[in-house]
């Protein structure tokens, strides 16, 4: 119990004193997870929507695979990305290992199935509603997907935020591919793991509270933005 209190105090101390390292790793956490989110959404939103509107032979199999990939252990993703990006691996020449780019790649792989699956679920309902009209208006697949994504954006936002939450709280994969290098690839979660390892629970917990606060802040910010954009619910 004492330790939790010490953690809260530590979190406030870090924030109030504008701790330079804290800002650096917090900013990097945001930068990595936001980039991963944007890239994952570029793939996952159209793909999930396409799955909802398209009937094809391996559709059920694809959806089942997607749902299984949602539970992919991050450490395994990290290991595979490490082996691919390692100097001795197929993409070693790119020199991407132990850079924020490598961390973004790993997170994209981790959250894309999650966002695609949530997108698929949300879009199925909307497609049932829009189906007749969009077919009647002779829309192309592209137009259908764009219409559904635009009109379903509230539900998709929830999916995207779930993806962001998973990305920013993830430690196993980015530890392996990022290496937790101070001033280069250290982010909130890897710093927490490091401080826990040193037995400095107060600092670790303080960072943990900063992480939670950050996740809440991003959620509130995005929800507020989407609320002011248009009043009322559909």
């Amino acid at each position: 119990m004492n330790e939790i209190w010490a953690g809260i105090v530590e979190a406030f101390r870090l924030i109030i004193t504008l701790d330079r390292d804290l800002f650096e790793i917090t900013l990097r956490s945001l930068q990595v997870s936001m980039s991963a989110l944007v890239i994952a959404c570029i793939f996952a939103l159209p793909f999930g929507t396409w799955l909802a509107i398209r009937r094809f032979r391996f559709r059920r199999l694809t959806i089942a695979t997607l749902n299984a990939l949602m539970g992919l252990p991050p450490v395994v993703v990290g290991l595979i990305v490490y082996l691919l990006l390692s100097r001795s691996g197929p993409f070693g020449v790119l020199g991407l290992l132990f850079t924020p780019t490598a961390m973004i790649i790993a997170q994209v792989i981790i959250i894309t199935p999650l966002i695609a699956s949530l997108t698929h679920q949300a879009m199925r309902e909307l497609w049932a509603e829009y189906h007749d009209l969009l077919i009647s208006l002779n829309t192309t697949s592209r137009q259908r997907i764009l219409t559904l994504i635009w009109d379903g954006r509230r539900a998709l936002l929830t999916g995207a935020l779930a993806g962001f939450g998973r990305a920013i709280g993830e430690v196993g994969a980015i530890m392996i591919v990022g290496g937790n290098i101070d001033h280069a690839t250290r982010v909130l979660t890897t710093a927490i793991a490091l401080e826990t390892g040193k037995g400095d629970f107060a600092l670790a917990l303080g960072l943990g509270f900063v992480l939670i606060a950050l996740a809440l802040l991003v959620n509130f910010a995005i929800h507020t933005l989407s609320r002011t954009e248009q009043e009322g619910t559909w």
Partner: protein, 238 residues
Amino acid sequence: MVAGINLVALRAVCVKRRSKLILGPVSLDLKGSGLTIVLGPNGAGKTTFLKVLHGIERISSGSVQWSMAERSVRRTQSYVFQRPVMLRRTVRQNLAYPMKLLGQQASKIDEHVIYWANQIGLTEMLNSPATRLSGGEKQKLALGRALIRKPKILFLDEPCANLDGRSTREIETLLLSANSSGTRIIMATHDLGQSRRLATDVVFLLNGQVHEQGPAEDILCSPQTSEAKAFLKGEIVE
């Protein structure tokens, strides 16, 4: 389109769902002008029939042959569904949607949206969410969104079911004016009064079969088949 020339020809069209025949076999021709009422009680197959014509219901056998080129069939047709589909957008965006799909200029879209909002009496509500409209307003919006594409052929599936007298008359006025400016209308209803007010010709459906087809005054005043007689007398309710 010249009156008297066949617009579309159906030959032995059947629609089966789960090995049950829900429409057909239907063989008939529709002429190039006028306002056709597809008349029949609930469950007769009116919706299925309209969707087959529009090409959004798969047929199990038979053929549907339009007189125009295959490619332009769907592009020149609009369809107002029995339960109108409202995009989760404002009234303005709902009206603009079909024109946006065609990639038209914003200024031209605006102009048409204003015109049609006025026609359907929703100018005041242009910026309200379409899903919040009343049943009658939704039907009018769906009609405006169908007409904004300037269709050659307009399908309507019971557009006035559940509407009060005033909304019904407003919609009928819009339909008659569209019809007189050259839009071919094919409309399903189970409302005899509406049929009398609007129809130039009638297709009478019962249990998935066409029992009578011909000019409105013939069928509505002196039906030939016993089924049509019974329906006109109000004996077939469901």
